[in-house]
């Protein structure tokens, strides 16, 4: 056995360790699209609030309900896009979309998100609106950092960035809207593009 075989052994070991513990078929393109959806959604919400509500969001008006609807549409569209593009990419790589690694990824991503979502609904029902914007970014950031252990490790940097934005948001709740635009819009586009060129185009 010469050193070439040893090198092959080492790369095989690394490859198998990654393949068996991380789901790496996440599509970068879906990140870019999620960011674009978020920006469109933010524009719609901004337009509604400025035009019909004098720039103030009142919690039980129709404007608020439409904003909420926009938010859910953006979230749903992002998830659906993510699933479709990731399935496509996994097929191209001959990987299984729904195997032990992707299940583990989804579970670890959803737990912080679900707890965060419920927590935010609870504090909203108690009338503490100001913190919800920052908290959503914080819980989303924690979900990303947690999920990064089971997927492409670079996801954690997106998570850290969301956490910082979330903390700024809880400190200065007035900027929440703009922090959302950065966190859910611009950062997704930057991150998605970075992943796309780093992993997808290769």
């Amino acid at each position: 056995m010469d050193s070439k075989d040893y090198l092959k052994d080492i790369s095989e070991i690394k490859n198998m360790m990654n393949k068996s513990s991380r789901f790496i078929s996440l599509s970068g393109l879906s990140g870019i699209l999620a960011g674009i959806y978020a920006l469109i959604g933010a524009y719609i919400a901004y337009y509604l609030v400025v035009t019909y509500s004098n720039g103030v969001l009142i919690l039980d008006g129709w404007v608020f309900r439409y904003c909420l609807l926009t938010l859910f549409t953006v979230a749903l569209a992002s998830i659906v896009t993510g699933i479709i593009l990731t399935t496509k990419k996994a097929k191209k790589q001959n990987a299984n979309v729904w195997d032990a690694t992707s299940k583990r990824l989804v579970v670890n991503f959803i737990i912080p998100l679900l707890v965060g979502g419920l927590y935010i609904i609870i504090i909203l029902s108690q009338g503490k609106y100001g913190q919800s914007g920052g908290l959503m970014l914080i819980f989303y950031g924690l979900a990303l950092v947690n999920a990064s252990k089971y997927s492409i490790g670079d996801i954690k940097y997106l998570g850290y960035a969301e956490l910082i934005l979330g903390l700024i948001g809880s400190w200065k709740p007035g900027y929440s809207f703009w922090l959302w635009i950065i966190g859910f819009g611009i950062l997704h586009i930057i991150y998605g593009a970075w992943m796309h060129f780093k992993y997808d185009s290769a």
């Binding site: 010469d2 050193s3 040893y6 090198l7 052994d9 080492i10 095989e12 070991i13 690394k14 198998m16 360790m17 393949k19 068996s20 513990s21 299984n96 195997d99 032990a100």
Partner: protein
């Protein structure tokens, strides 16, 4: 000389390297998971897991999920240590040449 002795004969096969790699980073793996990851046949995989169990590098646990038999593989502390030694030896050999 010492480097050569650290190259472990028990790992001298692609499937065995694969089994150990998977078990190093996972709490356990079942037969189906190993089979899919390594692209090995049933008989081939069974003989290699048996060989690794014989030297006590892995532990095999048989149980039932509902009515289906399920075999889980775990790496032992000895297996972990030996595999690390093996990787270090490989890396040293690569750096030498």
């Amino acid at each position: 000389m010492s480097i050569i002795t650290n190259i472990n004969k028990a790992f001298d096969h692609r499937i065995r390297l694969g089994i150990m790699s998977v078990l190093m980073v996972n709490e356990y793996a079942d037969f189906k998971m190993l089979k899919e990851l390594l692209g090995a046949t049933d008989g081939n995989l069974a003989s290699h897991t048996k060989a690794l169990e014989k030297v006590e590098y892995i532990k095999i646990e048989k149980q039932f999920i509902g009515k289906k038999p399920n075999t889980r593989y775990y790496v032992t502390a000895l297996g972990k240590a030996e595999f690390k030694k093996h990787i270090n030896a490989l890396e040293k050999l690569i750096n030498k040449s």
